[in-house]
Symmetry: C2
Amino acid sequence: MVRYFEDVTVGETHDLGAYTADREELLEFARRYDPQPIHVDPDAAERTMFGGLIASGWHTGGSCMALLAKGFLNDTVAVGSFGMDELRWPTPVRPGDTVAAAVEIAGKHPSESRDDRGYVDIELHAENDEGEEVIFWVSTNILLTRAGSDAWPFEE
Amino acid sequence: MVRYFEDVTVGETHDLGAYTADREELLEFARRYDPQPIHVDPDAAERTMFGGLIASGWHTGGSCMALLAKGFLNDTVAVGSFGMDELRWPTPVRPGDTVAAAVEIAGKHPSESRDDRGYVDIELHAENDEGEEVIFWVSTNILLTRAGSDAWPFEE
C-alpha cells in the first residue's frame, strides 16, 4: 500500500541505506555532467587543496536521491518537488567512500487551494565512513491526498 | 589565461549555450539516480498530472552544471562549491526539450580568514524552447585569488 499525504507524520525518520562511490562512475558522471578539473583530472586533482579526485556534488546528490526514492518516496504518492531551500556539500566524497543517508520529515502543509495534494518538507543527511557529513538538503515535495488518489496511475 | 577571484565582477553575465534532453538519456539517468515512476515509467507518467515523462531535476541540474563548467567555471580557478541557498524546478523538462542556460555573478566576498581564496555568488537560470524557466539556483563557489595561485595545478 502506498502512503498518501495524510499518512506521513512530521518527525518520522527513515534510514535509506548506503552506496559506495565507484571511481570509474565518478569520472564518467563528471565528464558528462560536471567536467571541472577536480572531478575529471585525477592527476591534477592530487595537487589541489583536496589532495585527490572528488565527486561532483551532483553525483552525490543523485546517488542520495536514488536512496531517497527507493527508501521513502516510492512508498508514497510523491509526484515531484518544487526545489530546495538549502543544499550543502560540507565534505567531499572520494572514490571508495561509502555514503549512508537518512531522511526526516520536517514539516507538512496542506495545499491552500486544492484538496488533492499537500506539501512535505524533507531533510536528507548523508555521511561517509568517518561520520563526516557529505551532503544535506531541505526540499519541498508534493504528495497526493486520498482525495487526489485518481491522479495516481501507478501500481500500489 | 584563467581568471582569478580578482578578475570576476559582480553583475557579469554569460550565456552558457543549450542542451537537448534526450529521452533515452533521461530514462537511463533516472533509473540510476532518481528511480521515481514519473521519471522511469513513461506509460504511467502519461496518466499523471504531468501528462508524460519528465526529467529528473537532478538530470536538469547536472546538464546545466555541465554548461556552467564549460561556459564559465572552467575559465576560472574555481575549486568547488559549498552548496546552494536556493534551487528550484518551476517547469519540468520533457524529452526533446532544448534547454538554454545563462549565469550572472550576483556577488563576491573575500575570505575573512585566508588571502588565497574568495567566494562568488552564482545565479543560474535556464529555460525551455517556450521561454519557460525550468531551473534556477543560487550557489556559492570558491575561487582562488592570485595569492593562492600556487594551489592551482591545472593548465592555464
